[in-house]
């Protein structure tokens, strides 16, 4: 660890610090605009990083992604429109509290737990990277399949309301995920011969539709006179935060663990981390009634989880060159571009650089507190803009955001369709969250299942034959059977 000193020094170079500062502000902006995601913030930085030194380039990407994931919470909280998919899991919960006049407290919670999650994830990265990456290498399609099943299970815990309608919503999401390319042979499926559909239904335009367009539609037909806007100034968001969050330290801890773990798994990123930790917090809360009426618990847990996963996703990326999500895939590309091959040799050949990158997570997450505070202060002006002016402007941003994801109008079409579907589902008591979760996990579920079946030659027992897969499989099945077991137990107690 004697490399930490020189690494810290190299991080303190003026050009690196300037890059981090500018990229942070850029990330905050991109994340807080509905329709622009953290991945897009990173992708848009790529051309710029061509002209930077390696450390400055990667530190800039690190800062932008961490900031964007936090900033996604701001429009989610104030307008019920998540800025990035990673905030979608708790947007409803956050906005519910805003309507009760507690926007300040929610945003403070998001900011502090984001920084905390990111910092703990960074510490795991600094001290555990090579060892953890070794363990992660044992994850094959079988293990993935069970992890995805566990992730889907959380759909059952996410939303209040009818569980049957939640299942239907999930199935619709899974079905939509099958549109596009069949992941085994690469043949088009359910595309009706249209090239636009071969890429499948993109998550981000669907998300913008279900949240932003549906919200604009709800506003357009709302016959109630505009609610008296809560003119509570957003003051010191840190005030009274620790006493408010202390009771939820267990949920925040779970969030950090889930986030760190999800980040390490290739293929799963910040959005999945947020869904699962929110579901876990709701399932195991000590105050179930308060949780659905308006509580910081789920927000704190998921807010910590998504930023923790951003940090830990760099473990497989740097140690093995395996991208954990679309953001680290870009990071690996940039590393290669700078003539650096990710892998264990990078730790011996370029230790100062690698630990400089890791330490930039600490820097970025500490910087998040003052910069995020500023962003929250600025964002309160959004609440002062009259809704009838704000909504058309948001619509314009959404159009461009949906377009920019793949640079195609198909995104805008998807956004419109999902906007109408999302509005109709909400009117009829179908939660939209499970549909989005199905869309996120659907392709992974099918691919891991079919890959496993091909490897196992159709023998289902092989799904349990590896140690980690076997354990995960048994846990999954126990979780699925637990409601039945509980019912049987209650019945036997009443009759016996």
């Amino acid at each position: 660890m004697e490399v930490i000193g020189p690494a810290l020094l190299s991080l303190m170079a003026p050009d690196v610090l300037l890059a981090v500062l500018l990229a942070s502000m850029f990330g905050l902006f991109v994340g807080s605009v509905p329709g622009l995601t953290a991945t897009m913030a990173v992708a848009l930085l790529v051309p710029v990083t061509f002209f930077m030194a390696p450390l400055a380039a990667i530190a800039a990407i690190v800062s932008a992604s961490a900031m964007a994931i936090f900033a996604g919470d701001i429009p989610g909280t104030l307008l019920r429109i998540p800025g990035t998919p990673a905030s979608a899991a708790y947007t409803d919960a956050a906005h519910r509290l805003t309507k009760q006049g507690k926007a300040e407290l929610v945003l403070g919670t998001c900011l502090v737990t984001s920084a905390l999650g990111g910092l703990i994830g960074a510490l795991v990265l600094i001290f555990g990277a090579p060892a953890i990456a070794r363990v992660a290498l044992n994850i094959s399609a079988f293990e993935y399949f069970w992890f995805v099943c566990l992730g889907l299970t959380s759909a059952a815990f996410i939303s209040p309301g009818s569980p049957l309608k939640g299942v239907i919503s999930l199935l619709l999401g899974l079905f939509i995920a099958t549109v596009g390319i069949f992941p085994v042979t690469g043949q088009p499926r359910f595309t009706f011969g249209r090239t636009e559909l071969i890429g499948g239904v993109a998550l981000v335009p669907a998300l913008i539709g279900m949240f932003a367009v549906a919200e604009i539609l709800r506003y357009a037909i709302s016959t109630e006179p505009a609610a008296q806007r809560t003119t509570a100034r957003i003051g010191n968001v840190f005030k009274g935060l620790i006493p408010a969050l202390w009771p939820y330290k267990r949920s925040i801890g779970t969030g950090v663990i889930v986030g760190t773990g999800t980040g390490i798994l290739p293929g799963a990123g910040a959005d999945i981390a947020a869904w699962i930790s929110y579901a876990l917090a709701r399932k195991f809360t000590r105050e179930p009634k308060k949780f659905d009426e308006g509580s910081l618990e789920g927000i704190a847990s998921a807010g910590a989880a998504n930023n923790a996963s951003v940090s830990s996703s760099y473990i497989p990326a740097t140690v093995l060159g395996i991208p954990g999500d679309s953001m680290t895939a870009i990071v690996i590309g940039v590393l290669f571009m700078k003539g650096l091959t990710p892998g264990p040799t990078i730790f011996t050949a370029q230790p100062t650089l690698v630990y400089g990158i890791f330490l930039s997570f600490i820097l970025a997450n500490l910087l998040m507190l003052p910069l995020g505070y500023g962003a929250i202060k600025l964002s309160r002006y959004i609440l002062d803009v009259r809704r009838e002016i704000l909504m058309p402007i948001i619509m314009l941003f959404c159009i461009v955001g949906a377009f920019a994801m793949d640079n195609t109008l198909t995104g805008v079409v998807v956004m419109l369709i999902f906007g109408v579907i999302g509005w109709f589902m909400e009117e009829n008591g179908f939660p939209v969250a499970p549909a989005l979760l199905g869309l996120v996990l659907g392709r992974l579920l099918e691919e891991t299942f079919l890959t496993s079946m091909i490897i196992a030659q159709g023998n289902l027992l092989v799904f349990f034959s590896r140690p980690i897969a076997g354990t995960a499989g048994v846990i999954t099945i126990l979780v699925w059977l637990s409601p039945l077991a509980m019912m049987a137990w209650r019945r036997s107690r009443f009759t016996g």
């Binding site: 990173v42 992708a43 848009l44 790529v46 051309p47 061509f50 290498l137 044992n138 994850i139 094959s140 399609a141 079988f142 293990e143 596009g180 390319i181 069949f182 992941p183 085994v184 042979t185 690469g186 043949q187 088009p188 090239t195 636009e196 071969i198 890429g199 499948g200 993109a202 290739p266 293929g267 140690v319 093995l320 060159g321 395996i322 991208p323 679309s326 895939a329 870009i330 990071v331 690996i332 590309g333 940039v334 290669f336 571009m337 003539g339 091959t341 990710p342 892998g343 264990p344 040799t345 793949d406 640079n407 195609t408 691919e447 079919l450 890959t451 091909i454 490897i455 030659q457 590896r466």
Partner: protein
């Protein structure tokens, strides 16, 4: 205001000038779009941005890279084929022949104007470091003995560009490739993970993609399907050294335009790309990332595209994709 009027006037005149030759002579007069059918930060994107930066310098107009990654690239290369052939939309073309047979559009060499090829990455055969398999001969022998004895990763959907190149070798050795256990994955990185985790026994992918895992000592590369050993990885034997007449194969990247590009534009671009290709900066940058360097001019590229289509058809016919 005056300049604005003048500009408007010029624009009207430009539109009115119907002769495409007249347009082509002054090309480029405005920014050129460069379609890259892959995500930002990937290999195709990186090479495209290298070229775009240098083209911008040579022609004094921006060359804007537009990423169109959906559908494994089909959307991007379809858009390239359908673009107006005015020289203001060009793009990066790669192994396009399989799409037609998989029911996605009808892209052939006639859909494009080949300009110049600048890269070729050979397929390679990898195993886990502690695998019992030591040479390519052993893989072939095992598959000849029992086609179901090994799982083979495609590092993408099956058939992929890499698995197709390996299939060609196997077909020449008299192996029925439909009887093999091909395992798909979401890209090369996921395939490597599956290989190391023990999900597949053999993986087909390029050497640069596997470089990190090779460095880490997690995998071994049995053979690279190229004519000669790679400059950047001289220790890896070629398939031909181990098996008489093993066909080379892999993935090419080239600059192309939609069919019917004016000849002046093609010539200007081809000259510029050759100049960039010969430059030290480009050679260094490509070597640093492990990309194979290979140049083909417009006519040679067209010949190669026809070979690529014929090879693809052979493999897909043997795979039963083409009835």
């Amino acid at each position: 205001m005056n300049t604005l009027l003048k500009l408007a006037g010029t624009a009207v005149l430009t539109v009115a000038a119907s002769s495409s030759a007249a347009l082509a002579q002054n090309w480029p007069e405005r920014p050129v779009t460069m379609i890259v059918a892959a995500g930002a930060g990937g290999g195709t994107d990186a090479t495209a941005r290298l070229l775009a930066a240098d083209l911008e310098e040579i022609f004094g107009q921006p060359f804007n890279v537009v990423n169109r990654a959906e559908g494994g690239g089909i959307a991007g290369i379809t858009e390239l084929a359908n673009a107006a052939p005015d020289g203001y939309t060009i793009g990066i073309l790669f192994n396009y022949a399989p799409y037609r047979h998989l029911g996605m559009g009808n892209l052939t060499s006639a859909s494009y104007t080949p300009i110049a090829q600048y890269n070729f990455d050979s397929a390679a055969i990898h195993v886990k470091a502690d695998s019992e398999i030591q040479t390519l001969d052993e893989v072939i022998a095992a598959l000849q003995e029992n086609p179901q004895s090994l799982t083979i990763g495609c590092a993408a959907t099956c058939p992929s560009s890499w698995s197709s190149a390996f299939s060609k070798v196997l077909i020449d050795q008299g192996i029925d490739i439909t009887a093999l256990r091909w395992v798909p994955s979401q890209g090369a990185a996921a395939g490597l993970q599956e290989l190391v985790a023990g999900g597949v026994d053999v993986l087909t992918a390029s050497v640069p993609e596997a470089a990190s895992m090779l460095d880490a000592g997690e995998i071994r590369t049995l053979a690279v399907l190229s004519e000669e050993r790679l400059d950047t990885f001289p220790d890896i034997p070629t398939a031909g050294e181990q098996i008489e007449g093993a066909a080379p194969g892999g993935v090419f990247r080239a600059v192309a335009g939609p069919a019917g590009l004016p000849e002046e534009v093609t010539t200007k671009l081809a000259e510029a790309i050759e100049q960039i290709y010969q430059g030290d900066d480009f050679q260094t940058a490509m070597n640093a990332r492990g990309f194979g360097l290979q140049y083909r001019n417009s006519a040679e590229l067209l010949d190669w595209m026809l070979i690529h289509e014929a090879d693809t058809e052979t493999v897909l016919r043997a795979a039963g994709v083409i009835e």
